[in-house]
Symmetry: C2
Subunit: 481 residues, 2 copies
């Protein structure tokens, strides 16, 4: 690569030098976002939004395959509606944006811009649910929500963000709990299969539950720098919202009952997770399943006869096979192009020049590294498909290896601090008595909060890592985004 | 159909009795929407949203095929940003919702919830456009917008509605004008091919232009009741916004120039247009291309051996062919089901019972009427595909016939009033001198405003229909939704 071709990537801060700055450089240089004049609100640019479109398409298919239907709720919630469920309003009211004027007139009741839509769904359920025949309702919506955060970072914590919110309502607790678990599994499968990102499934502690939930389940991922990131949540509400909103149905036995509810969501935060799980000093590394460009074709000696025609042929072949492919036939040097598509995280690069054509082959390079390989043109499509799978597998294995290397089992607060100091941030597996005081104490002394109570429990000891009293469960601790 | 099976549809008001009530009945009974406690904000229910998803999918494909990319802008516009373009702020400020509080704190500057996003796109363009190499940008977004309307009706005029807004920026006026025209043609093709709805392409008069536009193009459709509905708009902005936002680029000749912009949009209003173009006294009639259920299979004598199995076989065959099919195997009577799916506008119904099975056939009925026909089971898929096309063609022809029947050419205001009184509401084709005073006068005396100056002009006379002075063009007049 010529020296000036490196300029493009050399403007990215090295990860080890300053991970936060590396992250900010990537979201800007890879043209994922642009800042706006409203703090915490960003423009998601075409390359960033195309990642979200792929996430949407895959997840939406999984939702529909599990019987869910999409709806669209208004963005405004009247204050009186938000206030109906006590825990819920306490959790959200301090961080909502309020609309107080419509045109030039002051509104009689102020409206908040939805921070989440449980109250709107409940208000609707009350209208449409009367009998057991009306249940379950398995709804989802793809919208944006607003939370007036003080500290903001692109994708990770913004005042407006895009998400999907599933909201379901069931005749029985069992059904609702099964739904909560099912959607946690859908998210897990999506993160592993589409994002090449291993996650830990767990239950949130009482202090960390969603406002209004009986129980909150989450998937937790470990970023490259050893910090934890909550990648998705799935809540079981019991019949608390049904009581608050007076939603009842006539059951088969002709008695009135309160239905049970769930909600579950993932957000554009997943794009932040992709960046911090897979990225490197050359830029983004995108999982093939969601990469806007899966394969870039870079011709060498483009002016030579037949090169562009052959490159176009390869392009058409890959496109016809359903692969998202781009042919870069601009005047930039091949070295410049290599650096650009590396920074943009394109999984597979195909190079073709006069010598390749003479040998009836092209060269294939992977974003995840390794030797360039020659590929006979006759088997291009199958080879590229296999290489995309290989990139996925390598990415998943690397992310899993990072998590395993950075997961520490500890028996005391001293051990936690020692592990974090000696090995860097990561997940801590340690036992807990179940008391919030100990949860707070661990956080105060180590900086690592409880991330979740993993569903896959281990019996590391019988004592709480903090107070030494009998332990109830193993908790996964970590510093979080 | 048994008498009690009719009950379902008999609750729909007859069109001729009260068209407005008929419309309201349909949106409620077909479960397209549900009202909420915020006036003018509605829940779009699964059946209604599925229509929108189909509209989105088809249009988004057309946008991408013409080189457009999706982005996502914030929903909040600071007041100072909205104020940058004078005409634009005058047009929109009176009808926006204002956020004045974030959490418990009063905001330093109030933010409006986007009524449209020209100002946000301009603010972004200023950031990313520096050279001719950065042009054009061909962007679109699928979001909701808010306009604090006084009078609201589901889909037709609501305070929050879903739409797409395309925003493009070009080096030259020619390119921008070509884009404006291209998107008008995309909308036209979509309305005709996907919605079976003929439209008139035209230019808005000066008084009816979008706030800030040099020229506004629109497609106008005629509803069943003879009222006009603006189905989509495409605006050419010239370089006015570029001046207001100080967007400049270095052109090939190394001089700084102001780029030229466009915007274009269609909304969930299209669902209202579908209802009012095609619906009848039995309910919705959905164009096959956007119908959530294209084919419903209704088994007869379901308890008889082999019926449900055969119905399932047909279901799998149609599904495998990419047809959106539903098998209704509930305990409701066939007559009840017929009425329900008629009300829901399902284009094709397949009936299968023991006698049909014995004859190796099924019966096919179309939502657009006509005799039921027998279809050999061996040619089910091809027959259904042909029938879907037939339904589309019949719907388009009927809508076109209604428009032609209700389009009147008039030479005087008296003639306009006579035509509207004798034949009912419709489109008036009449000449115009180009003066706003005459436009106002026609509206005041007839109730019909200028809908557009059709691109396909006719020379009906050389005099203005109002003042008798020399005419500049033919205008399409009508009473509008």
């Amino acid at each position: 690569m010529a020296k000036n071709d490196k300029k493009l990537v050399s403007e990215i801060t090295a990860m080890d030098e300053d991970f936060a700055q590396w992250y900010t450089d990537i979201v800007k240089k890879a043209e994922l976002i642009s800042y706006t004049s409203v703090k915490g609100c960003m423009v998601i640019r075409p390359y960033g939004y195309a990642i979200w479109e792929n996430i949407q398409r895959i997840l939406d298919g999984m939702f529909k395959a599990t019987g869910h239907e999409n709806v669209n709720m208004p963005m405004f919630i009247p204050e009186s509606l938000l206030e109906k469920e006590k825990d819920h309003v306490e959790g959200f009211a301090p961080e909502v944006a309020w609309v107080t004027m419509g045109g030039n007139a002051k509104l009689e009741e102020r409206l908040c811009v939805r921070p989440t839509s449980e109250t709107l769904f409940c208000d609707h359920y009350k209208d449409i649910i009367h009998s057991y025949r009306d249940l379950p309702k398995l709804y989802n919506q793809w919208v944006s929500v607003v939370r007036w955060e003080k500290t903001t970072r692109p994708f990770l914590r913004s005042r407006e963000f895009l998400w999907q919110e599933g909201h379901t309502i069931h005749a029985t607790a069992e059904e609702a709990i099964a739904e909560t678990e099912q959607m946690l599994n859908v998210y897990t499968k999506f993160c592993e299969d589409a994002l090449a990102m291993p996650v830990v499934q767990g239950k949130k502690t009482e202090s960390d539950k969603f406002a209004g939930a009986v129980s909150t389940y989450a998937i937790e991922a470990l970023m490259h720098d050893g910090k934890a990131l909550q990648a998705g949540t799935s809540h079981y509400f019991g019949d608390g919202f049904a009581h608050a909103f007076d939603i009842q149905f006539a059951d088969k036995d002709n008695t009135l009952k309160y239905p049970h509810q769930t909600s579950w969501g993932v957000t554009t935060r997943l794009i932040g997770a992709i960046i911090m799980t897979h990225g490197d000093d050359n830029g983004l590394v995108l999982p093939p399943a969601v990469a806007p460009i899966q394969v870039v074709i870079v011709p060498a000696a483009m002016h030579k006869e037949g090169v562009l025609e052959k490159a176009n042929e390869l392009y058409e072949q890959l496109k016809a096979a359903g692969i998202r492919v781009k042919l870069d036939d601009t005047e930039n040097s091949p070295g410049w192009k290599f650096a650009e598509y590396e920074m943009k995280g394109v999984p597979v690069r195909v190079e073709i020049g006069p010598r390749d054509i003479a040998a009836d082959q092209c060269m294939i390079a992977l974003r995840t590294g390794g030797e360039k390989v020659a590929c006979p043109l006759g088997s291009l499509v199958e080879t590229v498909q296999a290489k995309l799978q290989e990139v996925h597998d390598v990415m998943y294995a690397a992310a899993l290896a990072n998590r395993e290397k950075r997961t520490y089992q500890c028996q005391s607060i001293d051990e936690i601090n020692k592990a974090l100091t000696e090995n860097g941030d990561g997940f801590i597996e340690a036992m807990w008595c179940g008391e919030e005081a100990c949860e707070d104490e661990v956080k105060a002394q180590t900086g690592a909060g409880s991330r979740c109570i993993p569903l896959a429990q281990k019996q590391l000891s019988d004592k709480c890592v903090c107070c030494g009293k009998p332990a109830k469960c193993m908790v996964l601790w970590g510093k979080a985004y």
